[in-house]
Amino acid sequence: MLGEYDIIVVGAGHAGCEAAAAAANLGSKVLLITMDMQRIGQMSCNPAMGGVAKGQIVREIDAIGGYSGIISDKTMIQFRMLNRSKGPAMWSPRAQNDRWRFAEEWRLMLEQTPNVDFWQDMVSGLLIEGNKVKGIRTGMGIEVKAKAVVLTNGTFLNGLIHIGEKKFGGGRMAESAAKGITEQLVEIGFDSGRMKTGTPPRVDARSLNYELMEEQLGDEEITGFSFLDIEKIKPEQQRSCHITYTNEEVHDILRTGFDQSPMFTGRIQGLGPRYCPSIEDKITRFTDKDRHQLFVEPEGWNTVEVYINGFSSSLPEDVQLKALRKIQGFENLKMFRPGYAIEYDYFPPTQLSHTLETKLVENLYFAGQINGTTGYEEAACQGLMAGINAHLKNHGLDQMVLSRSEAYIGVLIDDLITKGTEEPYRMFTSRAEYRILLRQDNADIRLTPKFHEIGLASAERYENVKEKLSLSKKILDFINNYSVEPALVNEYLAENGSAELNQKVKLSTLVPRPNVSLQKFICQIPDVQSFIASLDSKRTIEALEQVEIQLKYSGYIEREKENAEKIGRLEDFKIKDDLDYHLIPSLSMEARQKLSKIKPSTLGQAARISGVSPADISVLMVFLGR
């Protein structure tokens, strides 16, 4: 009835939307199936994008040609660049978004993307012939054929919601769970597990007393996520968040509900993330803390609904409400919906290859929470890569695998595939061994050319990168050659605790100093100012930023590059999929088992598998070496 497609994407959350958009933009005929078309691109949890490490991922998605950055920019109500006091690798963009506008924008962009068709239905099973996926079957009993299928089921697979002693099936509050897929996949031989996550209550802004809370303003300058020139709000239009705290009385009330807590009574089996604990977890695990910080985040421009960040809970709704009302500023609080916990099925991601295709069933791809991750950004980037790779494979082209030194996306996928995950996986900068290289300011330089080549990153993006690079070079040449008079800078140097000059020096010896700002000071020197003006480009600020980072951190950047290159050489040792490790008797037994299970694609990946020793790698190298 629906005809045949190149790619079917199941689920229209952050992963599904990116997968559908990328595949369609590359030229595939895509069918996006969702259980509810009103909920495309939902922010199921907090109304925010980015943050530390996550913001870098959004920048990468954008550099590749995904939509998350553009949509975040268009729908933000507040923007902050986190970690500004730290080195440039730590700078992390974060936005509060209008939840409704965000979802609307996703739907509109998808509707405007040629090659994307929609169908509202529940996918209840896959059509599989031999070891290849051929399409899907829906709850309505419709079969649709496709060359590839991307599963992005989020928390919907056998989703089970808990509030106190109540529990009911559902993928999100008031949305039904999806059944059938897990059972079918397990039947074929997939391993599956359960994970748990939670969300806090949503409350009525009109019932809160903001006077009693601390205000958290947005930045005075909004740089945003996208490398394209997206129109964003003016800084003065931004909405504030507010900060308040729990107290002992709140904790005491919460404790009265512990005997009904699904977490503490053992009704929830799945493992939740340690970095996103529920409020009841916080007060039991950190008994010495007499208060916990809460962020009151507006959900949009025009709504009175607000999100209580930090108060995730699955205690009975009346206990949640009673406790909330003891918080400063919340005395008269009205609740819209309580927090809840949700359990769902996931498939340990070691069953995938680096392209996110399953090892067991060809042309079947997994992305997002189905792989045990958490977070919009983590999901979106997997969807993007799965969509790209499904398209490339259908066309017999080389698939795209990003390395750990190339992108956070590379780190994320490699971690999942190589190590698996026991708790919902979230990105941290500490997971990246080359974080000095993986900065938000250079995501376009790192990724856009590569994805322009396959036809995803637009010509406009590519030209922007080229211009940024050529401008950087011009500025650098100028700085290397221009000598500055001491009289022009000594006052500033003295004020900023930097040694004064006795004679003219090249600017390139001045910029590397920690307290000397290129943009805020050097660019104010008249000659420099007129040179910069003569460049006459929209990308000048970005180029100046590159030059400043290059000059100030070159030693560290070079060191990281060297390290990455050394590892890169190990990554060049490709291992064939059909290598029978059991035939290499010199490998330790543990190494043989782990290697057979994970089937690493390179020696570098093999080295990252726990239980594979340097001696094992040495042995493998001998067998692969010649």
Binding site: G87, P273, K282, E433, P585, S586, S618, V622, R626
Partner: protein, 475 residues
Amino acid sequence: MRNLRNIEVNMEVGMNKNPDTIAAIATPPGIGAIGVIRLSGNQAAFLADSVFKGKKAVKSSKGYSILFGKFKDGKEILDEVLVSVFKNPHSYTGEDCVEFSFHGSPYILQRALEILIEKGARLAEPGEFTRRAFLNGKLDLSQAEGVADLIVSESKTSHDIALNQMKGGFSTEIKKLREKLIEFAALIELELDFGEEDVEFANREDLKKTVKKINTVIHELKASFKLGNVIKNGIQTVIAGRPNAGKSTLLNALLKEERAIVSPIPGTTRDTIEEILHVNGVAFRLIDTAGIREATDTIEAIGIQKTYDEIKKSSVLIYLYDATTMTQDEVNADLAKLVHPDLQLIILANKRDEVEKMYDNLRKFVEDAIPANHLYISAKQPNYIHQLTDQLYLKAIGNDLQDQQIIVANVRHYEALLQAGKSLDKVLTGLETGITGDLLAMDIRQSLFALGTITGEVDVEDLLDYIFSKFCIGK
């Protein structure tokens, strides 16, 4: 971040771009006439010239030439050496190679290897010379399996040795060091990844103190390396017993020359006498002591007190008694005063020659009284002495190890501590100049990688575990 760096450092050969220059002792264990250290890699000649002083530099010498000169330890001369020069591809590994021939003392070889590592060589991984030879096409493809086996067996041995060394106090220190480093690294990561959280961040002054503390531990470890001391200073071994039990005779027999004043008058050895004894290349610092008895004059009393002091500091005690005059009750009474928990004990029933001269009944009575775990010897007769040296080696090292491997494993740890210390020095400089956490973390990671070889690898999960267990994360 796990074992990546170790592998990166170790595995880069075969990929040809600036592989490390590696070094190792190439001659078999023990004291031989000569001992050879081999260097391989494109920095071999450069490294050799940094320690070698002869008429001609290694760098400007042709392949297959031999140079004579001095191997320097700083300003001092460590040894006179012959240097054999090999130019790629005409060497065992197919790379530039240099071989130093030393006089065969384990101490000299150990020290020379340490110097080369300080200069920038890397200690060869198990089987690495052979692996390089193989990857450079010097060995036949059919030998791949053999090469692999060699790597595995050498890795296993060095792992066993490492484990063996970890018993006792050293392993406790290493564990503490690892915990401190994880804690420190985690505190830095905390402010990077969780800077927005409502948690208390460590201030720079406290972090400086922590780094200094860790560095002190590293320095102490470097200095007190048990097996490093074995090579450099010997295992402290005290010979004790009552006056006239034959201690000095025994010492002389062990050293095969008259050092202590041997006389039949009780109390001749008033002070302690130190001698170095090499057994299978392991050095024992033998300390002959004044006899244990109630002193009759002050000088002797001081000597006896010194005996007790020396025993407290020692790893091995050789207690000997005169089998012709001492009862087992008296022996046990002496031992009760001498032993401490860390002490390896060897008990010798001496004067077997005199017992053997006794009438049969008396002889049987005396010999039956000697417990089976006492070595029944005559210090005067050399044929019993090797039983004792075997025992010594066994007690100090364990019978499944050869001294050569101990030296190597030890240098490996030394190398790791050296690197870790260097990286931490950079961290400290960084803290003092006020650089940001992400840059500090680079050097902290280096130091964690370096220590990974001794302490076990430190994974990012270890850091996250620490953070999540100590700090309430998650808004």
